[in-house]
């Protein structure tokens, strides 16, 4: 029996899943989806949310059928040590790439809004050291980071009241003018923002009440969907079509119309504050990839953390241009879509076949 200190309550899954979904993606998602599915971008988001909810249900079924390990353990269990390790290694690479994409997109944002001229690696190093420090504390610290980040940033939602005063309802009308294929393209494009629910595959062994997990993870993914939906709808109503297609971070531009008598430019508060939003993302991706390294090479997780952290640091000298970054995020979004929207369906099939074979062989 593992000691109790490793476990967290089931409702913590809400914070973990939600905070790892919300990150840099939400700042740009209205534009990215709008480019594909135009006025019906919000339908794409809703469909995407529905899809995520189904996949979440599927994931939990897979995990329960496999007697609750992480995805890394499941891979080894299903495909054997060698092939499983190759799979795991690919997933570790994916998470490192996600980690870097979050870091660099935040760095890019902060360089645009106020810190122009600072070297990218300085930011990346600062974020990395902070992340390493948090992740070294173990899973419970990572959970704590998620919880605190949620509480400290959720109030930003109320900032939306200001853009609401200058919206125009005719901009979203008429609904359903785009073709279904365009809407589906929008769903694929929204994947970069909606991703994060795959964390479920890796936190499962740490959850205390496993039967409550379904409920809390569903609440988490729907809460995220609603947040993304609100930002998308408000952005569509707030900006005219051409303007929305031009803005890299429509949400930040929207926040820039918020002003109080004591803070004239609220976006200069919101952008540094966003570090709290991405911090859980960074912690979780680093934690998961180091867990993978531990599983593959059987080395201590501590070394894994340091080893992995070197990679984003090196990347920060290579991939820094806006155009490159855009391509990079796009690719990660695509890979993520296949890996976490499509792959779990296959995995579910394989698990069922495997368990049938097992029961048959047991009968013999």
């Amino acid at each position: 029996m593992k000691s109790n200190i490793r476990f967290v309550n089931a409702f913590m899954a809400f914070y973990i899943i939600h905070t790892s979904q919300i990150g840099m993606g939400i700042l740009g998602v209205p534009r990215i989806v709008y480019l594909e599915s135009k006025k019906d971008a919000w339908i794409s988001i809703l469909l995407s949310g529905l899809f995520v909810s189904l996949i979440t249900w599927l994931m939990i079924s897979i995990l329960k059928k496999n007697e609750g390990g992480t995805l890394f353990e499941i891979h080894e269990h299903i495909f054997g040590r060698l092939i499983g390790s190759i799979f795991n290694f690919l997933i570790v690479i994916y998470f490192i790439a996600v980690h870097y994409s979050i870091t660099i997109s935040y760095v890019e944002l902060s360089l645009t809004w106020g810190y122009e001229g600072v070297y990218e690696w300085v930011w990346v190093l600062a974020l990395l050291i902070l992340t390493i420090y948090a992740v070294s504390g173990g899973f419970r610290v990572v959970t704590g980071v998620c919880f605190l980040s949620f509480l400290l940033t959720i109030w930003l939602l109320f900032v939306v009241y200001r853009p609401l005063q200058t919206i125009n309802l005719t901009r979203i009308l008429p609904i359903m003018t785009t073709t279904p294929s365009e809407i589906m393209k929008g769903v694929v494009k929204s994947s970069y923002t909606m991703l994060g629910f795959e964390t479920l595959f890796f936190i499962f062994p740490f959850i205390k009440e496993k039967n409550k997990l379904q409920l809390f993870s569903q609440i988490a993914v729907w809460f995220t969907t609603i947040l993304v939906l609100i930002t998308t709808v408000v952005s569509i109503l707030f900006f005219s079509a051409k303007e929305l297609e031009k803005n890299v971070w429509p949400v930040v531009s929207m926040i820039s119309t918020v002003h109080f008598s004591f803070i004239e430019r609220f976006e200069f508060v919101a952008v540094p504050l966003w570090i709290l939003v991405i911090f859980p993302n960074l912690c979780i991706t680093l934690y998961i990839s180091s867990m993978g390294i531990k599983q593959i090479f059987h080395i201590k997780q501590k070394y894994g953390i340091w080893l992995i952290s070197i990679i984003p640091f090196i990347c920060s000298f290579l991939i820094t241009k806006r155009v490159d970054n855009n391509y990079f995020f796009d690719q990660i979004g695509k890979i993520g879509f296949f890996l976490w929207f499509i792959y779990p369906i296959f995995l579910y099939g394989i698990t069922i076949i495997k368990s049938k074979i097992n029961t048959r062989s047991r009968r013999r």
Binding site: Y115, V122, I129, I132, Y133, R171, S240, H259
Partner: protein, 376 residues
């Protein structure tokens, strides 16, 4: 180990930033104006706020020529020891002539791109931006930028200006089926600059203007929370007699003048079909002034009065709509509304422009007199 990490974090997170901005070193620009010199060169004029207490002057104006906005700024930097910042930039003025011939959208790119420029900055049109900024006759404000900002801000909040900040302008400029408007600032010798009408745009070029009071008809349909400003209507006495209001014992006069204060309003663009659009609006008003003094007590005559006022407004609105159609500019956003109907959502900007001049627009403003002040 832990302590070293914390130390490293705190060093990294605090020290590695661009150098601090010291207020005495800053030249805070509050207003910038652009004039056209010839085909490709523009003249930019800025007003800088001075923070040095030893200086008597509170502001400095500088101008420079250049081909792009930021090049002008570079040249302006050469003329001052201060570091010019645009974080407090509140107003951008454009030369009217320039806005009529070359358009102003090329200037807006940098305003959008530069994150230090707020989205809430005002845009305005003036005959000669340089002269307006060099005008010394502003009131008690420290410099011209603050004065013009207050002038525009007050008018947007309290009076009859259609929203005119950068965000509103760009949004309406880029949107299909609505054209932007900007306030015009008049600059005369020896007096402070003042607001003088609203410029109407077609795309990014000025095609005409309407008076400040008449913007109320635009605001009725574009903004549902604006202040409309007071409405003055003149009604001929014979018109009153025709309606059978003579028995009211009204004081003898040829013309009746009524000033109304709008309390609430609701405007709605109703698309009847491709050729016919109804502009319905309902304004609740309180009467501010009646010349000659009249009291309307009975309900029937009040209804008739409301009808008369409504008709007078509709008549005037009709003229304005006719003018807007002649100029082929659509500040009300009728085109946008047409496009939001499923049947017509395929229409492009050119289609809408063509349709607009042939469109039948029927104004239908109703007035409801809710309050009459302390007397009736």
């Amino acid at each position: 180990m832990k302590k070293i990490v914390i130390l490293l974090c705190s060093l990294l997170c605090t020290a590695c930033m661009a150098p601090e901005k010291i207020i005495e070193m800053q030249g805070i620009s509050t207003i910038i104006g652009f004039d056209l010199l010839d085909d490709n060169t523009y003249k930019g004029t800025i007003s800088l706020l001075q923070f040095d207490r030893n200086e008597e002057k509170t502001s400095v104006t500088l101008s420079a020529d250049g081909t792009t906005n930021k090049q002008i700024r570079q040249k302006l930097e050469e003329q001052t020891s201060h570091d010019i910042t645009s974080g407090q930039l509140r107003t951008i003025l454009f030369n009217k002539n320039m806005a009529e011939t070359v358009g102003i959208s090329s200037f807006l790119d940098t305003m959008q791109r530069d994150s230090s420029i707020s989205d809430l900055i005002f845009l305005a049109i003036t005959d000669n931006a340089e002269e307006t900024i060099k005008n010394k006759n502003y009131e008690e404000y420290p410099e011209i930028g603050s004065y013009i900002y207050q002038l525009l801000d007050k008018h947007e909040k309290k009076e009859m200006l259609v929203n005119s900040n950068l965000h509103d302008f760009i949004t309406t400029l880029y949107e299909i089926g609505i054209d932007p408007t900007l306030p015009m600032i008049k600059n005369a010798n020896g007096v402070a600059p003042s607001i003088d009408g609203v410029a109407l745009f077609k795309d990014d070029k000025i095609v005409g203007s309407i008076s400040l009071i008449n913007t109320l008809y635009i605001k009725l349909f574009t903004n549902n929370k604006a202040f409309l400003g007071d409405i003055t209507v003149e009604i001929a006495a014979e018109e009153l007699e025709k309606r059978g209001m003579a028995e009211l014992n009204l004081p003898k006069s040829d013309i009746y003048k009524i000033t109304l204060h709008p309390i609430k309003y609701k405007g709605n663009i109703e698309i009847k079909n491709e050729e016919l659009v109804h502009l319905n609006a309902m304004i609740s008003v309180s009467t501010l002034e009646l010349q000659p003094s009249t009291s309307v007590k009975n309900k029937d005559s009040l209804n008739k009065m409301e009808q008369l006022i409504g008709e007078a407004l509709n008549k005037e609105f009709g003229y304005i709509l006719e003018e807007l159609k002649n100029l082929n500019t659509d500040p009300i956003g009728i085109g946008r509304k047409i496009r939001s109907v499923r049947k017509y959502s395929y229409l492009t900007e050119e289609d809408l422009r063509q349709k607009y001049s042939a469109l039948k627009i029927k104004p239908n403003i109703k007035v409801e007199i809710k309050r009459t002040g302390t007397v009736d």
